[in-house]
């Protein structure tokens, strides 16, 4: 455990939690899936990676904790260059937690607490520590009551949460979620998003990266957006700047968020001084009301 303590100091100093430089990768050595990706995640950021299916999002995520080895390029996690020895990989996987798209692939144990305990048990922690972590992870996302349930009986939304708890029990500094709300009904996805939000509030130092093709979600939720197209990050920045860029959005086979589209429409038609662009339907309604009264 002493290694982890040493690393703690580095983490506090490093503003850049994750840095990816000129990353190239190909599965079959014929077609590049990642073509020179540059990416940076800062402490406390809620970052979203958007791109259509097959744009290379998941492939990029798998690199972040060393599940795939790049053909070219560098990955720096908490100021340490990622190396691929067994020891270094264990260390980096403690820091970077990935929640996969399909919770059924991730949940292997029959009972919820058993699955959440999987990471800590394999890290060789003591029984007391494992129990503590399981409890904390479950409470952090408010599923303490699911502890003794059978995993296969849970709803899809609950399974997602269990999968997240399983990753949280490793106490990561960087939480990566691959398509967190795909396949969920509106209420469950709303619920899950709130969970992720409160998680971000509880842990100021945690970096959260969400990969998705759901632009509506991203526009409302993220602090920073990166658009991925055919293995490259074509634009990154503030949600309004990135998702409002019609050329980038179109060429990436995405759609502009509806709120933004409507807002742009009124902005052109009526508003003289629109101020801050709205990010949700509620904010948009406020802007519209304001303009109608004028």
């Amino acid at each position: 455990m002493s290694g982890y303590k040493d690393g703690e100091d580095i983490k506090r100093d490093a503003e850049k939690m994750v840095e990816v430089q000129d990353l190239w990768f190909s599965y079959d050595k014929k077609k590049w899936v990642l073509k020179g990706v540059d990416m940076e995640l800062k402490r406390g950021d809620k970052t979203a990676l958007v791109g259509c299916n097959g744009s290379g999002k998941t492939t990029l995520l798998l690199h972040l904790n060393g599940l795939l080895i790049p053909d070219k390029g560098y990955i720096t996690i908490l100021g340490n260059l990622l190396s691929y020895t067994k020891k270094a990989l264990t260390e980096v996987r403690k820091r970077v937690g990935i929640v996969f798209q399909n919770p059924n692939d991730q949940i292997v144990a029959p009972i919820v607490f058993q699955d959440v305990a999987l990471g800590p048990v394999n890290l060789g922690l003591s029984e007391g520590e494992v129990k503590k972590r399981v409890k904390r992870a479950l409470n952090e996302i408010n599923i303490g009551d699911l502890r003794d349930r059978k995993a296969h009986e849970l709803s899809e939304g609950e399974k997602k949460k269990v999968a997240i708890a399983g990753v949280l029990a490793m106490e990561p500094d960087i939480l990566v979620l691959d398509e967190p709300i795909s396949g969920l009904d509106p209420e469950s996805s709303e619920d899950l998003l709130n969970t992720i939000d409160s998680l971000c509030e509880q842990n100021d130092n945690m970096v959260v990266l969400v990969a998705t093709h759901d632009v509506e979600l991203v526009y409302e939720w993220a602090d920073k957006v990166m658009v991925m197209r055919e293995g490259e990050i074509v634009k990154s920045g503030k949600p309004y700047d990135v998702l409002g860029d019609e050329a980038v959005i179109k060429s990436s086979r995405l759609a502009m968020p509806r709120v933004l589209r409507i807002y742009k429409g009124i902005e052109m038609a009526a508003c003289e001084n629109p101020g801050v662009p709205p990010r949700s339907v509620e904010e948009l309604l406020k802007v519209m009301k304001g303009n109608l009264w004028q």
Binding site: N65, R93, F100, A109, Q114, L118, R147, M170
Partner: protein, 263 residues
């Protein structure tokens, strides 16, 4: 409900889940040993009956239990039938099939019956274990008895992947049925398609699972049920719990009967 899921859920919700894994393992293996050792049909039937009753009582249900018992039975019966023709000298029944004379012998028949009872008794011992104890806990306990890590890890993976295969098979079968894949004349072709696509998809699933496990630093250890218990004292206070004493008594009786050979 899938077969795999019901089986797995018995192991975590049966009436014997609180009893320590070591005790159940010990009880089941000792009884199994006696079943292998004894020559007495009475003892074998006693074991079969007792073990089955406990398992059924613990929450499996008689219908499902008998259904599961049929699986090994379909493998056993044909081989025992053959045995009746090979051993012994005292004919019981003679008949001819396509010019071949076949004679069923008394000795072979008796041996077959004994073997059959022994197998069923043994199976009931193992059924008792696997239906009342989660696989992770069995492996965890066996690890304490110096079972090599690799064996435990492999067993768990194999166990898990069986379910992946079953799931894939079910969903592919449904997809084929939906497109009338099993109408007359197409069965063989559909079956071969089923098997080949099952292989490809299972490999894909297995790889995803491997990645997800690797991402959580999986090193071959499956958390046992003990991590769910709030109070550790409960399982540690009694070295000799009532259940253990009962189990030992039962096995001791069996052993005495087996050695004495009176029955």
């Amino acid at each position: 409900m899938h077969l795999d899921h019901t089986l797995e859920s018995y192991t975590v919700s049966n009436k014997l889940v609180k009893i320590r894994t070591g005790e159940k393992l010990f009880f089941s293996l000792c009884t199994l040993f006696i079943a292998v050792y004894t020559q007495s049909p009475f003892l074998l039937l006693l074991i079969l009956f007792t073990m089955s009753s406990i398992t059924i009582w613990s929450g499996v249900g008689i219908k499902h239990y008998l259904k599961l018992l049929m699986i090994p039975l379909t493998f056993l019966l044909p081989s025992l039938f053959v045995l009746a023709f090979l051993r012994g000298s005292e004919p019981v029944l003679t008949f001819s099939v396509i010019g071949m004379h076949l004679t069923m012998m008394r000795e072979g028949l008796e041996l077959g019956a004994l073997l059959m009872m022994r197998s069923m008794a043994g199976i009931s011992c193992l059924f008792f274990l696997i239906m009342t104890t989660p696989i992770a806990d069995i492996l965890d306990t066996m690890r304490k008895f110096r079972m090599p890590e690799i064996v435990g890890e492999l067993s768990f993976m194999v166990y898990k992947l069986i379910f992946v295969l079953i799931d894939e098979m079910e969903s592919t079968k449904i997809a084929q049925d939906a497109r009338l894949g099993y109408l007359r004349g197409k069965r063989i072709k559909s079956l071969s398609l089923l098997l080949s696509s099952m292989l490809v998809r299972s490999l894909e699933k297995a790889r995803n699972m491997e990645r997800a496990l690797e991402a959580r630093c999986y090193a071959g250890k499956m958390p046992s049920l003990k991590f769910g218990r709030e109070d550790e004292s409960e399982s540690k206070v009694h070295v000799m719990s009532p259940s253990l004493i009962l189990m030992i008594l039962f096995d001791a009786c069996l052993l005495v009967l087996a050695v004495e050979g009176g029955v």
